[in-house]
Symmetry: C2
Subunit: 431 residues, 2 copies
């Protein structure tokens, strides 16, 4: 499969691939390099591949000015991403440059005396961080001559792929389990691509997609989270870039990041290291903390046990967008948390809901369950003295509460139901 | 009521009100002026009041530079809004500067050869344009010493008020009809303010709020869409400012704007006229088109009949956020459409759904039903030769499809439901 894919590392027209500063794919395990192409595993050791760059070092001031003069979306960082230089002129959904909210009300409530910020990715076009990664995959798909964009999804990703493909003028065909909530099905279907419901679990959907990639029926298809994964994953670096730029080109001291596959956390670390290497921020230590739901906590379990191996779990949590029982990047997350002096922690469903409400009540931000996990873990780490309340801390909200209404609906309703009269109002004790 | 309110045109501490360039309230009917205060109707003629300004004329280049150096939200236009000069430093949800999407795919499909743009306000913090107007009301509430923010709402506004109050550190108490969809109730409740469900219709809720304003129980309360309405409404001017700035300080030739109360349309016209007056854009004609749902079309009915009077209707449409049967600004909308050479048109529920899907399929934007109304009317006006397809046209999407899933759910589902096998996939004809 990988060998076959290496052979197609030029586009179908035979021209060579131009993805900006990206120069190769390199194996994260053995370091072997491969030409840019729609491959994702090393032919030598089966390790995961990631994008290697020739980054524009040597003129940090010039680079900073160039970024600041760029568009208000992720393409301001095009010189650091695997995308063509003219990416901003192409039709795409232009995610990113979402708000970094200085959360003073929340800080007071949590006893944080340093700066506390929420990086709020619910402001993306389809209201989750997935738009960042899919936008990279679209450019890779164009570069490799793919005309159909695809993915396996529990809903959110299918929506992001559908929207991005529509804008880019690509066909989409996405795959979901057949028993999803209506809201997620509508979001996945509305953009007009083909949406296939598979009679089975998400694991069945995944297995089916792996078969399809190796079959003639899947020829010319870019699966954003499979054969385009190395490019797709790089989109998460933009969270690191934006956080530092929005802090005034400054590294935060502490970051709290949710863990699903773990890819986002590892790429944020990669992005921070690049900014240091490029001289765009001061070289100083930072700590990365990972957040999981107790009902799907393979990485935090391994972290607490002092193990390097992540044992798969069967997920059972309301944080469905984080419910990956066998996270591909789990071991890398453990490395990063330990190397930077961070930690990995988890919270239960009740703590997740409490954290969603805390963020809404203090800052007017309605987070999806993944955001509740991240803030819930932040609170727990503060209570346990693991996070330092005097430092600059950034907490990620990666999605929108409108997509996970079920988690809070049972406990979020009217304070009172009354007849339309002043007497009834006074009796309710709200005056 | 109005007289009583005029007397409270200074804050409770007795200091005078400082709302930037706003100098007075003036009656739109008789022109009588009043000091800035929490009043909304003229004591002379009962006409609606609006904010009068002393705008910074004389140095358009300086003003333009100042705006462009401002934050990526509506506060970049603070010199033109009824807000204190230091507004950007206060805790608020900072809406605005949403994407203006050049909709080339949609243009091709509609036969538009000029520039077609979607102003996509689903990118606001609570995903509707309401965040713009509520943000103004928050500043007015602070200026007048109100500590509770309130509104009558069919759901979306209560969410926007709840979020804005939470961030601003104000109490909120909002009122909704008791039989709303669960999603809207959750959004209205999640921010932790008091939410009161009224056993009655939206009209009952409105009447109750009017009683409450005149009662001691409502003392110290700012109702964003009643006693703070003149300030609140000005938030819609920012749509005009952003559209022109994002077009490169250029007026569009044609704008298509949804009509609920009509306030938004009149304020966009006001904003465009201000930009001309300030020398920020060239003085040239533009046409404003209003969009209604057939099931609630009092303004388009009057427009087509050549009447100046808007006859109330009982709404029956899926576009619930536009379902105001007796729109307060209806006559002003008629004036503007006629004066600028525009028109007011309506579309039925089926056309609304078709337009939502058209926008999603071509541009990857999932609009709420109000967006479907506006695009549906755009399409109808193009087909009828009323809109000129060779000019620069801007169409507003004021909300998010996630909030009106019911409208499209019955017709948006999987293309196919299959077993997880390649044979089943081939049989479904999607390969």
């Amino acid at each position: 499969m990988a060998v076959q894919a290496v052979e197609s590392s030029t586009t179908s027209s035979g021209s060579s691939v131009s993805l900006g500063p990206a120069v190769a794919l390199s194996c994260r395990e053995c370091g072997e390099r491969f030409p840019l192409g729609p491959i994702f595993a090393c032919v030598e050791c089966f390790g995961p591949l990631e994008v290697a760059y020739d980054l524009p070092t040597g003129d940090p001031e010039g680079l900073r000015r160039r970024i600041e003069a760029g568009p208000n979306n992720i393409w301001r960082y095009a010189p650091l991403l695997p995308v063509p230089a003219d990416v901003a002129d192409k039709p795409n959904i232009n995610p990113g440059f979402t708000k970094l909210v200085k959360a003073d009300n929340l800080a007071r409530e949590l006893g944080v005396t340093g700066e506390l910020h929420i990086k709020d990715d619910s402001g993306n076009p389809t209201h989750s961080f997935k738009d960042r990664v899919v936008a990279q995959a679209v450019e890779a798909a164009r570069a490799f001559g793919f005309t159909t964009l695809s993915c396996s999804s529990t809903g959110n990703l299918a929506g992001a792929v559908g929207a991005a493909a529509a804008r880019a003028g690509l066909r989409s065909c996405t795959f979901i389990p057949h028993d999803l909530e209506q809201g997620k099905v509508v979001m996945a279907a509305i953009y007009g691509g083909d949406l296939v419901a598979i009679e089975g679990t998400y694991d069945d959907v995944n297995r089916f997609c792996s078969e399809l990639i190796g079959d003639p029926a899947g020829e010319g298809w870019g699966f954003v989270n499979v054969n385009l994964r190395p490019y797709y994953a790089e989109g998460s670096k933009t969270l690191a870039y934006e956080i530092c730029e929005q802090l005034g080109w400054r590294l935060p001291d502490q970051l709290v990041i949710p863990i699903a596959s773990g890819s986002q956390l590892t790429k944020i670390d990669k992005g921070l290291k690049e900014l240091i290497e490029l001289g765009l921020v001061e070289d100083k230590p930072y700590k990365i903390f990972g957040a999981q739901a107790e009902g799907c906590s393979p990485v935090s379990t391994a972290f607490k046990a002092g193990q390097d191996v992540v044992r798969p779990q069967k997920p059972n949590t309301i944080a469905k967008s984080l419910a990956i029982g066998n996270p591909a990047d789990g071991p890398y997350v453990l490395d990063i948390a330990r190397r930077t002096g961070g930690a990995v922690e988890d919270v239960n469903d009740e703590q997740i809901v409490d954290a969603i409400k805390l963020l809404a009540r203090t800052e007017g931000i309605f987070a999806e369950t993944a955001g509740g996990v991240t803030l819930g873990v932040t609170r727990k780490l503060l209570e346990n003295g693991v996070l330092d309340p005097t430092l600059t801390t950034v907490v990620l909200n990666t999605g929108d509460g409108l997509k996970t209404l079920d988690a809070v609906a049972p406990t979020s309703g009217p304070t009172a139901v009354i007849r339309p009269s002043l007497d009834a109002f006074r009796e309710a004790g709200l005056a």
